[in-house]
Symmetry: C2
DNA sequence: ACACCGATGTCAACGCTGTTGACATCGGCG
DNA sequence: CGCCGATGTCAACAGCGTTGACATCGGTGT
């Protein structure tokens, strides 16, 4: 029962004056995302959010059972926006998956404090449902059915969510702006060539590796796997 | 200067009597892992650890700069054990990767509070270095070189660490013992067949999907990708 | 129009967390 | 023996999520 009842829009923004607009689920979510968009913040606190809203922090608990539910709602909103950013034709399933992955990564990186929460994997919200349907639809267009379909969706979702969450975390800690490139491997790796020869030999290309490139590489890997599975299933029928 | 100097074993366990054995880096790590192995604990606190050791909690700060460094050490120990569990012949690179992945998943699941930390991706410790060398060696045996080698290692490591961390988190929250199977997708998904037809059609096989199976599937996907890349590189030379 | 009553905002407080600084003690070395 | 750094102890701080009691607001039934 967390949703604001059935249908009613709750008088919307209260018209003209409205001295202190009543606190609202959507208002809290909007403020939460703004707060999470602040660079360098790995997490947001209920007290911060209350200050931002100009109300007592505990007022938030009238609209969300716990902070965990709040974070789920924020994450679901982000996922919903990711889905909305997908514009390619449904038939072009590859491009749709690429768009979904890219926008998810961008939104997570832009809101690190929320993106980190994606490791929980499920938001129990409408955004997640739409995203799942989109991914299943894409792999369905690829020609996958049954277990192959479910497995590839799961692999894709798992990679996108957890990798994007990891990247978001790194972005939050380093405080870098969402756009600029950042290395996948943290800090310099000091390996003795005698005990770790291969590390030493590829050290430079390893530290050059960008997290975003690796993320997209994983996306392509799942897409290619889907192509092959679809081809195999087609030739077997 | 957190490390206990260079090499010395520090008189070991103090001989025979030793009323209260002096606190030691290794002792703390051992106690930390025991604590993390307790079922249903998503995180461990410094005070808990102090109680376990029979010392004042803050004594830990004489051996670790911060809790973050402590957790890094615990994680590195776990990774080191994962590497030690790999017994297959170096030539059988596929099996070695499978063994490493499986033991990592098992150890993370068995110590959820530590496994969750794997999203930080780097421990700056010796265990991590050995693991990286092992993975690079394996993909090297597969025939990969240069960027292909680094990319496949990164993809593999990223998947194993973040997926295992996610699974460990789920195990910790649900308090289930490490062995028993657990579903990848949390909770029942209630989808209206009219708005989300594909979800509805595959709902059962989706909730049947086990997290461990999906994890291993990802491992196989990277292995197969490595095989194909190696084949392509060989035919191009 | 008035009284009601649930929904909402406010405040103080609880128990928990990681961390710090001052102080006491232990143990090896000159 | 006496020093002195390393280590253990204690009290305390600031922050966190969360709860319960209380005040107030606003729509509803009469």
């Amino acid at each position: 029962m967390t949703t604001t009842a059935s249908s009613g829009r709750r008088r919307a923004s209260g018209g003209t004056s409205a001295g202190r607009p009543r606190l609202d689920r959507d208002t809290i979510i909007a403020a939460g995302l703004e707060l999470a968009a602040a660079p360098g913040s790995t997490s947001i606190s209920v007290r911060e959010l209350g200050a931002r809203l100009g109300t007592d922090p505990t007022a938030i608990y009238r609209h969300f059972r716990s902070k965990e539910h709040l974070m789920e709602a924020l994450l679901d909103e982000l996922i919903g926006r990711s889905v909305a950013a997908v514009t390619a034709d449904p038939a072009d399933w590859r491009e749709r998956l690429r768009q979904l992955a890219a926008s998810t990564l961008d939104l997570f990186s832009g809101h690190p404090a929320v993106g980190v929460e994606a490791i929980v994997l499920t938001t129990h919200g409408p955004g997640e449902l739409d995203a799942v349907e989109l991914m299943l639809d894409a792999f369905s267009h690829a020609g996958l059915r049954g277990d192959d379909l479910v497995r590839h969706y799961a692999l894709f979702a798992s990679h996108v969510l957890s990798s994007a969450a990891g990247i978001a975390r790194g972005r939050g800690e380093r405080g870098g702006s969402p756009g600029e490139p950042s290395a996948w491997f943290e800090g310099p790796l000091l390996a003795d060539p005698r005990t770790h020869p291969i590390i030493a030999s590829v050290a430079t290309s390893l530290t050059d590796l960008q997290d975003r490139d690796l993320f997209l590489l994983g996306v392509e890997a799942v897409i290619q796997s889907a192509e092959r599975a679809a081809g195999a299933a087609a030739s077997a029928s």
